[in-house]
């Protein structure tokens, strides 16, 4: 089991930049641009990993350890996800949410560490966003899978497979998609393409990072994004036509990239929301989840 887990972790980690590249590529196409190749994130990471770092003079060891711990937490999440059939029986929902919380906590601290006011703004907003997203995240999953009698994700996925596309799952899928958008820092919640003051969330906390540390952080952000998409796919789209293509792997990939396309589509078709509109947006997710709960 341990070995398979590591293989899964490595696989997800290696795939994560591709999803990011794919989303960027889709976005470019949807905006009538040529856009960089989907492999561009790999090139970026590879290059950043060789670069020197410029470190803020005011930064302490918090800034130094943050990239390592964030990457470590991302690897842990990647290893724990219930991807292969029903997972390992140890992937607890709360554990995964709180592992995300760990990296968010450290990133926010790193933002305050340098004393850069933009990074501080990012930290403040990132923690504020967590206040809205974490409840919605838990609720969207618990609303449907609460009937299972465990928060073990593998068992939840099995339940989802048995009850796919029933009303509660359809409602909760909507709720969770909003959470995916927020957790991946995408429009309309956050804009990952800019460093503008108005859109500063996660990107702003990274502002003082460069070189290898930036590479590690970006990579862990990509892994987190892929993990959210995988969770979404596993819980809400557990179908495949084996008659057509008899491979679980291929179907998994197709679904992941389909969700990636959906993310790109929402990004091009909506505008960034004001910060103080976000509670309403996530309340919509909460309401959908509550409806799913009642419909169960």
């Amino acid at each position: 089991m341990a070995l398979e887990m590591l293989v899964q972790a490595v696989g997800i980690t290696l795939l994560a930049p591709l999803l990011q590249g794919f989303i960027q590529w889709c976005k470019a196409r949807l905006q009538n641009r040529r856009g960089p190749s989907p492999l561009q994130p790999y090139r970026n990471l590879f290059k950043l990993l060789a670069k020197d770092m410029v470190v803020a003079g005011t930064a302490s060891w918090i800034s130094f350890v943050t990239p390592f711990v964030c990457f470590g937490a991302a690897i842990a999440v990647a290893a724990l996800l219930p991807v292969v059939s029903s997972g390992w029986g140890v992937s607890d929902l709360f554990l995964i949410v709180y592992l995300f919380g760990l990296s968010r906590f450290l990133l926010a601290l790193a933002g305050l560490d340098s004393g850069n006011s933009f990074a501080g703004m990012g930290s403040s907003r990132e923690m504020y966003l967590a206040v809205l997203v974490e409840p919605a995240f838990l609720l969207a999953i618990v609303a449907t899978a609460g009937a299972v009698g465990t928060t073990e994700l593998g068992r939840m996925v099995q339940h989802a497979t048995a009850h796919s596309f029933t009303l509660p799952y359809v409602l909760a899928a909507g709720a969770f998609f909003i959470v995916v958008i927020a957790e991946c820092g995408r429009i309309p919640v956050d804009n990952p393409d800019t460093h503008l003051e108005l859109t500063m969330f996660q990107e702003a906390t990274l502002i003082e990072y460069s070189g290898r540390q930036l590479a590690l952080l970006l990579w862990s952000v990509y892994v987190r994004q892929l993990a959210m998409v995988v969770l979404f796919v596993e819980l809400f789209f557990p179908w495949h036509w084996f008659d057509l293509i008899p491979s679980l792997f291929v179907w998994g990939m197709l679904k992941i990239f389909l969700v990636g396309f959906l993310l790109a589509l929402t990004e091009t078709s909506t505008a960034k929301m004001r910060l103080f509109r976000l509670p309403n947006f996530l309340a919509a997710s909460g309401l959908l989840a509550l409806l799913a709960l009642v419909a169960r």
């Binding site: 887990m5 972790a9 990993l49 060789a50 020197d52 770092m53 410029v54 470190v55 803020a56 003079g57 005011t58 302490s60 060891w61 918090i62 390592f68 711990v69 990457f71 470590g72 991302a74 690897i75 842990a76 140890v90 607890d92 709360f94 554990l95 949410v97 709180y98 919380g101 906590f105 601290l109 305050l112 560490d113 004393g115 006011s117 501080g120 930290s123 403040s124 923690m127 504020y128 967590a130 206040v131 997203v133 974490e134 409840p135 995240f137 838990l138 618990v142 609460g146 009698g149 465990t150 928060t151 003082e208 070189g211 290898r212 590690l216 990579w219 103080f276 509670p279 909460g286 009642v294």
Partner: protein, 677 residues
């Protein structure tokens, strides 16, 4: 180890604490010596207590320490059962750390009245021991009052500040009101049992209204001590007022005496109650948790912030207690065991990390002379050990893996997750979901709050001259902090032994079953309760995190030696000053705005219109929040009392003639009365 040896050990411990008092009195002329001897003895007493409590907890059997007949009080017994031993263990850990810390910390307080401080400290520890060890209503109440009294004197120790005296006053009023309720509860029990001994209270036959009444009386009585909102007003004032090593015990242990009391009443004396008991406890718990953390997040006084965060944590503990009661009444003994275990473990963990945070905050306050976050900053370089300890405490209190706070938060979340199994129907589902949202939101707010504290106080650059010149605390202070930080890590990675001990504590009580609840194997922790399961693989998690970090390190060095160049931060072309940094008030801004209907935030901006708009005007900015609970409940009560007082003032105007007149009138009335036939 038999009872006889343990009771000798207990008396040795009592004698050590008393010697601690005496020696401070004897050595009052040389504060330095009094400090070392007295606090050293307190630490020794705590070490004995640790051994004693550990032995009882490991054995799982109650130990009778002392029994005696005394006047009409019946048999007065000191008995340490596993429940008491569990809380004594917490007291010994926190008390021991605080005693050692006090040696370094109080060295700043040397004065003529210094000797009072160690005397009170030893007495405070001792009376808390007796609160846990008494198994007699009278003895318990006496110990309870002694604990209140000694802690009160410690709160007002620095009576030069008017605010401290005021805090002490509010503390007295609130806590005696609470004790009155407690006494009433004990009287009802004693009247029914015909005895004051705790053993006779167990499953005493009361009518249902009587049981309801005792439940409510105990809830109000202990709730005042625990600082449940709306009975909390004294807590955020009194805890910061005390010297920091005392604050650590006040928040870490004294609040838990309330949880201990509730466990005694609800588990042992009253047994399984109707569902509304548990629902009510949960209701108060969630309100305390959410409001407590919101107020903590808005606070900029580091010690008051920690006090508010205690409200939040006690709220989370109450969620576990309430869920346990609900499960008991629904006939789900295993789930009840889970919920109670979550409550007890969280109480224990909170004791450790909150004590750690208070100790570290005390070191910061001593080094910088200010409690205001907006004046701190950059302490991570000036005080590296304190910063490291505070960092661990902040992670633990934000319930992040792999620290102890996460384990108890996880258990609490699990017990709330299974709540719909006891509260059936749509309303149960919705209530469960809403609790879930509220608890998840609380956890996120706590994380925001402690990012704020650590980030503003310890990171970036100093915001004031004092913070710039701060010096690291002496090793007597840093050592206990680091020890507590180690305990946070230990109970996060190895929660098994403590959870097994807790399940032994809970097993004897009616309506609870913990047999086979916690399965421990290689991968970690497993809960198993009929239709409820949960797996938490702590070891695996730690391993994965470690492997992940190593992989990151591998990638970091993948392409040769890493070169780090230091440069100043970018501040749009100007030289960045500490005033460019984010402030604590600014950090909590978005949350303040979102919760403005609860917090009633107000701000005041005064702009100097005379200056040039393009260069930048002088700006004064004032931000405040209003406390709705205080305004809704306490202010009207206060106004009512003042109105009555004004009325009474007319009777008692201070004129001697008037008083002579009163005496005359009374005499005449008495004469007339006695003369009637």
């Amino acid at each position: 180890m038999n009872d006889l040896e343990l009771d000798r050990l207990f008396f040795q411990m009592v004698i050590i604490f008393l010697t601690g008092c005496m020696s401070a009195v004897a050595l009052w002329k040389s504060p330095r010596l009094a400090n070392c001897v007295s606090h050293g003895l307190a630490a020794g007493g705590c070490a004995l207590m640790f051994y004693l409590a550990g032995t009882v907890l490991a054995g799982g059997e109650a130990v009778l320490i002392f029994i005696g007949r005394w006047l009409h009080a019946g048999e007065v017994a000191l008995r340490i059962d596993p429940l008491a031993a569990f809380f004594l263990l917490l007291l010994s850990v926190v008390g021991g750390a605080a005693s050692i810390y006090a040696i370094g910390y109080t060295a700043d307080h040397y004065s003529r009245r210094y000797a009072i401080l160690p005397v009170l400290f030893n007495l405070f520890l001792l009376s808390t021991v007796f609160v846990f060890a008494s198994s007699h209503a009278g003895a318990f109440l006496i110990a309870w009052e002694l604990m209140t009294l000694t802690s009160l004197l410690l709160v007002v120790y620095e009576h030069e500040h008017a605010a401290n005296v005021r805090a002490g006053f509010i503390y007295v009023v609130m806590t005696y009101t609470g004790t009155a309720f407690l006494m009433a509860g004990f009287f009802i029990m004693a009247a029914a049992a015909g005895d004051l001994s705790f053993e006779k209270f167990i499953a005493v036959s009361l009518t249902q209204p009587q049981r309801d009444l005792v439940f409510l009386l105990a809830f109000i009585g202990f709730g005042t001590k625990a600082g449940i909102i709306p009975l909390h007003v004294w807590l955020p004032k009194a805890h910061p007022a005390a010297p920091s090593h005392v604050s650590a015990i006040l928040s870490g242990v004294m609040l838990k005496t309330a949880i201990y009391g509730m466990a005694r009443f609800y588990l042992e004396f009253l047994g399984v109650g109707p569902t509304w008991w548990g629902v009510m406890v949960i209701g108060f718990g969630i309100v305390s948790a959410l409001l407590g953390v919101l107020y903590a997040l808005m606070e900029t006084d580091i010690k008051r912030l920690l006090a508010y965060s205690s409200l939040e944590n006690l709220g989370v503990v109450l969620l576990g207690v309430g869920a346990g009661m609900v499960f008991s009444s629904a006939g789900k003994p295993l789930l009840a065991g889970l919920a109670w275990a979550a409550a007890l473990f969280h109480a224990f963990n909170h004791g450790i990390f909150k004590a750690l945070l208070f100790l570290a905050a005390g070191a910061v306050v001593q080094a910088t002379g200010t409690r205001d976050l907006e004046a701190l900053g950059g302490l991570i370089r000036r005080m590296p050990y304190t910063a490291a300890a505070f960092f661990v405490g902040a992670l633990a209190i934000s319930s992040l893996p792999p620290l102890n706070g996460f384990i108890s938060e996880w258990l609490t979340l699990q017990s709330l997750f299974f709540l719909p199994q006891a509260l059936t129907g749509v309303s149960g589902k919705i209530a469960g979901a809403l609790l879930f949202i509220a608890l998840a939101m609380t956890a996120a707010l706590v994380a925001a709050c402690f990012v704020k504290v650590f980030g503003i106080a310890f990171l970036a650059r100093a915001r004031s001259r004092k913070a710039e010149t701060a010096k690291e605390a002496p090793f007597t202070m840093t050592l206990p902090m680091l020890g507590l930080a180690g305990a946070c890590l230990y109970f996060g990675l190895q929660p098994h032994s403590m959870l097994q001990a807790i399940s032994r504590v809970l097993q004897p009580y009616i309506g609870i079953d913990t047999r086979g609840l916690f399965e421990v194997d290689r991968i970690g922790l497993m809960i198993q309760a009929n239709h409820a399961e949960g797996v938490l693989s702590v070891t695996l998690l730690a391993g994965l995190l470690l492997i992940g970090c190593l992989a990151a390190a591998g990638l970091y060095y993948l392409r040769g030696k890493a070169v780090r160049v230091t440069a100043p931060i970018w501040a749009c072309g100007r030289a960045a000053t500490p005033r460019n940094q984010y402030s604590a008030t600014g950090f909590s801004g978005p949350v303040r705005w979102s919760f403005r209907y609860v917090l009633r935030s107000q701000r005041q901006r005064i702009v100097d219109e005379n200056e040039n708009i393009y260069v930048g005007r002088k700006l004064a900015y004032h931000q405040s929040i209003r406390y709705i609970v205080d305004e809704a409940i306490y202010y009207p009560v206060q106004r009512w009392i003042l109105r009555q007082a004004r009325f009474m003032k007319r009777l008692q105007a201070g004129s001697v003639q008037l008083y002579v007149g009163y005496v005359l009138v009374v005499t005449i009335v008495v004469l007339a009365w006695s003369g009637r036939k």
